[in-house]
Amino acid sequence: MVLKVDNINVFYGAIHALKGVSVTVNEGEIVTLIGANGAGKSTLLKTLSGLLKVKSGSIEFLGQSIVGHAAQSIVKDGLIHCPEGRRVFANMSVEENLELGAFLRKDSEVRKDMENVYERFPRLLERRKQMAGTLSGGEQQMLAIGRALMARPKLLLLDEPSMGLAPLLVQEIFQIVQEINKNGTTVLLVEQNANQALKIAHRAYVLETGKIVLSGSAAELADSEEIKSAYLGH
């Protein structure tokens, strides 16, 4: 088991954003998390990566508790969070952004990984020297994912990677996620685009106002009437 979240509670001041959430992610899986706006999906990811603190409950990553660990030590362990809204470093070049992705790495293969990212996203190679802030939305999304890959994640948390992207790119992003996964990275994927997400995921959780209300294999959930009417828009 790569990730084991057990009964965590998270607050924003007085707002109880996660109420006893438990989630597990196994080695090699794509697990997707769906839920309406404000359900707490991003909150869960932020908690995992150490940006938010849990009030109670436990989080184990690769068999070790990471509760209370600083964000940078969680990154060091290989849990990488690609946040909502891209969050690229606007006034730094594409290349510098990628270098920052590998900030904690000291090995000699950083350059090689960068070549890999460029190979996967040729557009980024084209724009190597451009300031990230002036990229289009889709380009920024590629950069954000590329940047996360630079850290060689063991577990990659993706928060709405397809938001605001053109249909063609949405396809591309989902393909990339699958590829990354095939190359051995475990993925926890948060998506509004539930149809697509359920197509590529192995398992799924449904979050509603801070609680897990459903979980199961992706195929099962995709067929569930409940899910269809609430999230898939049929």
Partner: protein
């Protein structure tokens, strides 16, 4: 294009940033009451075109006519006062104002009581403020936000923030409404609800709408005509079914699966 029903007439407009031609020689028009879609890959220049239409940027070349009148050189607020209102791709609410006040601000231009009357609390002030409040609540009701009128805008969930932005734009009482990716970050069900709402307000307020959106179910579902931009250039326009089968559009934007 002397057609008197043309509300918006974009004549060979270009805009460059440094060396980059973000919008290049774009010509398009919208007739009174139409609901027109604007699609294109990321970075195609859609938002930039909106910015040109609303006076945030000035065109490097070309002319924009709004109701037959050139809006070149006008400030954004002047264009809004002439009857064009918009929403933003990255939401720009007045975060620390209440939901109600957000909408009241947009109605401001339609009030007549002066600063003096407000400072001296003359009867015209009370009358004016009452009108604003009443109207604002009406708009909130349309978007089912009246229950949250006293909450701060920044505390709303994302989907409601999107709706509030539209409500606010509507409160400016525009003839032309420009919506920039209103469904971004919504799930398919929410998108569907939004689609119905847009159609409803169009009828109710006799609006002309220009809509940017990447969610094809929405665009194809509501738009009568669609323009497609790619790298700043208009590559196609037509009805949804024409666009859907246009090979150039498929190649640049839609991909195979739609």
């Amino acid at each position: 294009m002397t057609d008197s029903t043309v509300v918006l007439d974009v004549q060979h407009v270009s805009r460059t940033f440094g060396g980059l031609k973000a919008v290049s020689d774009v010509a398009m028009f919208i007739r009174q009451g139409e609901l027109v879609g604007l699609i294109g890959p990321n970075g195609a220049g859609k938002t930039t075109l909106f910015n040109l239409l609303t006076g945030v940027y000035e065109p490097s070349e070309g002319k924009i006519l709004f109701n037959g009148e050139s809006v070149g050189g006008l400030k954004p607020y002047q264009i809004t006062q002439k009857g064009a209102a918009r929403t933003f791709q990255n939401i720009r609410l007045f975060g620390d104002l209440s939901v109600l006040d957000n909408v009241k601000v947009a109605y401001h231009q339609h009030t007549k009581h002066s600063v003096w009357s407000s400072i001296l609390r003359l009867p015209s002030h009370f009358k004016g403020e009452q009108e604003i409040t009443e109207k604002a609540i009406e708009f909130l009701k349309i978007f089912k936000l009246d229950g949250k009128q006293n909450e701060l805008a920044k505390n709303l969930p994302y989907g409601e923030q999107r709706r509030l932005e539209i409500a606010r734009a509507l409160a400016a009482r525009p003839k032309l409404l420009l919506l920039d990716e209103p469904a971004a970050g919504m799930n398919p069900q929410e998108t569907h609800d939004l689609m119905e709402l847009i159609q409803w307000i169009r009828k109710e307020f006799d609006l002309t709408i220009l809509l940017i959106e990447h969610d094809m179910s929405l665009v194809m579902g509501v738009c009568e005509r669609i323009y497609v931009l790619d790298r700043g250039i208009l590559i196609a326009d037509g009805t949804p079914s024409e666009i859907r089968s246009n090979p150039k559009v498929i190649e640049a934007y839609l991909g195979q699966e739609v």
